[in-house]
């Protein structure tokens, strides 16, 4: 038997649609339309001027045999796999510390949040001053202590490490802020109960704090992974993708292909692959996460 409709339900539904309509409209104009446009461009051979030539899936077939694409994809995944857990772990550690009764807590919080106010390009420019292997601060300090200099710019490993370090420094403050908000939403009664049950500090953190921060962690993992997939400014300014493609990531490769080589169809295909990865990850994470909706 059909459930009787509540009086005014139809009007409420209409009001709800009216409220969300502007969001859907903006999503349609600024996300879906460009996305479909990019997909259509990815099926063409075009330099962006005039009409392109429809080439079907040729650009996608080219990806399979392009070593720089695979290297950029590998670098993107490696960068994501390192930066996401590191910056979240540091952010959580800092949030837990700064949620307790530390001296000068507001100052420390402000210092950690400060990098958020700096743009990615500015962060990378600061990174250049630090990691320049001839005149950068790190090698100068190493020399002062008689330590060997590191080839931050001409060796693949150190160059990759430099973009990871710069990014982790930049992202930790944001993760700390979100975790801090999550921590401050947790009431003291659970901790008090755990303490009465004899739980130590680590047990309280492991069995109370971490599970209750599940939705926050879920939110941050999605944001950090998508950010890491889309990393561009820090790599572009700090290493330019070098040396020898060692720090090239999908977005810098797409940029080079689209705006330097002007092979815009192929660049769009790289962009679509990136989109696909982000989409698959978000869907997978959504299905797999059991704590995303957990509340105290």
């Amino acid at each position: 038997m059909a459930r009787p409709r509540r009086a005014g339900a139809r009007r409420e539904a209409l009001a709800a649609y009216a409220f969300i309509a502007p969001n859907y409209l903006l999503l349609l104009i600024f996300v879906l339309v460009p996305l479909v446009g990019a997909f259509l461009v990815s099926l063409q051979r075009t330099d962006g001027f005039g009409d392109g030539t429809f080439t079907g899936l040729d650009n996608y077939a080219r990806l399979a045999s392009d070593p720089l694409f695979w290297r950029s994809l590998g670098n993107t995944l490696l960068f994501t796999a390192i930066v996401t857990p590191l910056s979240m772990a540091f952010g959580l550690f800092a949030a837990v510390m700064l949620n307790s009764a530390l001296p000068a807590r507001p100052v420390l919080r402000s210092l950690l949040i400060l990098p958020m106010a700096v743009s990615g390009v500015a962060t990378a420019l600061i990174g250049v001053l630090i990691f320049d292997q001839n005149s950068g601060a790190l090698n100068k300090i190493a020399q002062l202590f008689g330590l060997p200099s590191i080839d931050w710019q001409s060796q693949a490993g150190p160059a990759f490490a430099s973009i990871v370090i710069a990014t982790v420094w930049w992202r930790t403050g944001f993760n700390m802020l979100i975790y801090l908000a999550g921590l401050q939403g947790l009431g003291p009664d659970l901790y008090e109960a755990a303490r009465l049950d004899g739980a130590g500090a680590w047990q309280r953190f492991r069995n109370v704090t971490l599970p209750l921060l599940g939705p926050t962690t879920f939110f941050l993992v999605i944001l950090n992974v998508i950010y890491s997939f889309q990393v561009f400014d820090i790599v572009f300014v700090l290493t330019g993708g070098g040396p020898g493609g060692a720090t090239s990531v999908l977005v810098t490769y797409a940029y080079e292909t689209g705006f330097v080589t002007r092979d815009q169809g192929y660049a769009a295909a790289i962009g679509m692959v990136l989109f696909l990865f982000a989409l698959l990850f978000a869907a997978g994470q959504w299905r797999a996460s059991r704590t995303r909706d957990l509340v105290e």
Partner: protein, 431 residues
């Protein structure tokens, strides 16, 4: 007289027809001096360059009442992604500034106005041969060469003296040969403190085209004269790759002086990490203001012949500008002798007019160095410039960057590098 409705419409049509036809380009336009209109002009630039453009625009507006030019100055990093987007969207500026190595990408794809029918008859004769070659494409003239710049060598005389080198070449004919330069490199390696290198080469950013100077010095080429056939598979190219790779293998340059480095060569020179740096004259004002050591300039080396990069920029009008004649008259004005002399003197750039490239050429800063850069520019051959202005240059540049980077890091020998350059360039130009 009674005027019927039909009569009125016919009369009004007759009066307005010439105006409509003129708008469609069916009747000759009035002469530039009688026209009014506004041009939009997009460029990037140093403070000195932008000041020079503003002065020249004010002079143009003053000489042509009713004609105005709106200058849109943007950061270099955004310049061409903006221009590309505007061209694709159909709302580009009337005029923009473009490096010669990017020129072909626009001219070869129908994005620029062919100025040939609009220019004064004596225009071509006023420019140097390489400069004129740089704005040609498929028989058309798609811009006017506004200034040029070529790399010579800035020398930290204190570091050279510390290594026992007290003299540098003072004429282009006496420029160091490649062998002499290598000997200088060895001497500097022995005489400089550890962590200080003989020189740095300015091939970072989009500067990989400056490696071509070495190719040209070895009398090599990367495209045949048709600009459609790769020509880099040669002994000259192998020699140029070997010589430039030796900069790294013999420690003449810092290890991070690679093509993809985020640190520019000039930064190493300013910080005294290197004794010499390949540099355009545009660096002179900065060097004069900030270098804390004694410095001078000398000529780039020579091998089979002298050779250099044809840097600098042209001014171009977009194909769909609504005011082609006004645009052409503005471009002519900007390349008149007085405007070009003032602009180049203030910005430490080289003129592209033959009548200005003489002993009277003076920069506002360190004027005694102007003849060195002018003489270096004189060694640039038109056939070298024509290759760099190829429509396929934007696709060739990534090939050069990738393959030379592999050679410099020791991952690939010269013969393989040249083979890969040949096949990569062939793919880039669709040969």
């Amino acid at each position: 007289m009674t005027l019927s409705r039909r009569g009125f419409l016919i009369g009004a049509g007759a009066v307005s027809l010439p105006v409509l036809l003129a708008g469609c380009g069916f009747v000759p336009q009035s002469t530039p001096t009688q026209r009014t209109g506004t041009l939009t002009f997009t460029t990037w630039g140093t403070d000195a360059e932008l000041a020079g453009f503003r002065t020249a625009i004010a002079a143009f507006e003053s000489a042509n009442p009713g004609q105005t030019v709106t200058l849109n100055a943007v950061p270099y990093e955004q310049m061409f992604s903006n221009i590309d987007a505007q061209l694709q969207a159909g709302n580009p500026p009337d005029i923009f500034r473009v490096p010669y190595y990017t020129f072909g990408a626009y001219a070869g794809r129908g994005q620029l106005l062919d100025l040939k029918p609009l220019l004064s008859s004596d225009r071509q004769a006023q420019f140097t041969e390489p400069a004129w070659a740089a704005v040609q494409n498929q028989g058309g003239v798609f811009g006017l060469p506004h200034h040029t710049d070529t790399s010579a060598i800035l020398v930290n005389t204190e570091l050279l003296a510390a290594a026992g080198i007290t003299e540098v070449p003072t004429s282009v004919e006496d420029a160091w040969t490649w062998e002499e330069l290598a000997a200088i490199g060895d001497k500097l390696r022995g005489g400089l403190p550890s962590g200080t290198y003989p020189w740095a080469y300015n091939w970072q950013g989009n500067g990989v085209t400056r490696w071509l100077s070495l190719l040209f010095q070895a009398d090599g080429a990367f495209l045949q004269s048709d600009q459609k056939t790769p020509a880099i598979d040669s002994d000259a190219a192998r020699k140029a790759v070997e010589f430039s790779s030796s900069f790294f293998s013999k420690g003449y340059v810092p290890a991070n002086n690679t093509i993809n480095s985020s640190s520019y060569a000039s930064e190493s020179w300013f910080s005294q990490s290197v004794a010499m740096v390949w540099s355009g004259a545009f660096q002179i004002p900065d060097a004069d203001a900030t270098a804390t050591f004694d410095w001078t300039a000398t000529f780039a080396p020579r091998d089979v012949r002298t050779g250099g990069d044809f840097g600098g920029n042209a001014l171009v009008a977009t194909a769909n500008t609504a005011q082609p004649e006004l645009a052409a008259s503005f471009l002519e004005f900007m390349t008149d002798a007085e405007q070009m002399r003032d602009f180049c003197a203030a910005a430490s750039l080289l003129p592209t007019r033959g009548d200005l490239l003489n002993g009277d050429l003076k920069f506002d800063v360190r004027p005694e160095l102007a003849p060195i850069f002018a003489a270096q520019a004189g060694g640039v051959q038109p056939q070298d410039v024509a290759q760099v202005a190829s429509p396929s240059m934007s696709a060739i540049i990534p090939v050069l960057k990738e393959q030379l980077d592999l050679a410099f890091t020791g991952a690939q020998d010269a013969a393989t590098t040249v083979q890969n350059l040949q096949s990569g360039i062939a793919t880039a130009i669709g040969a």
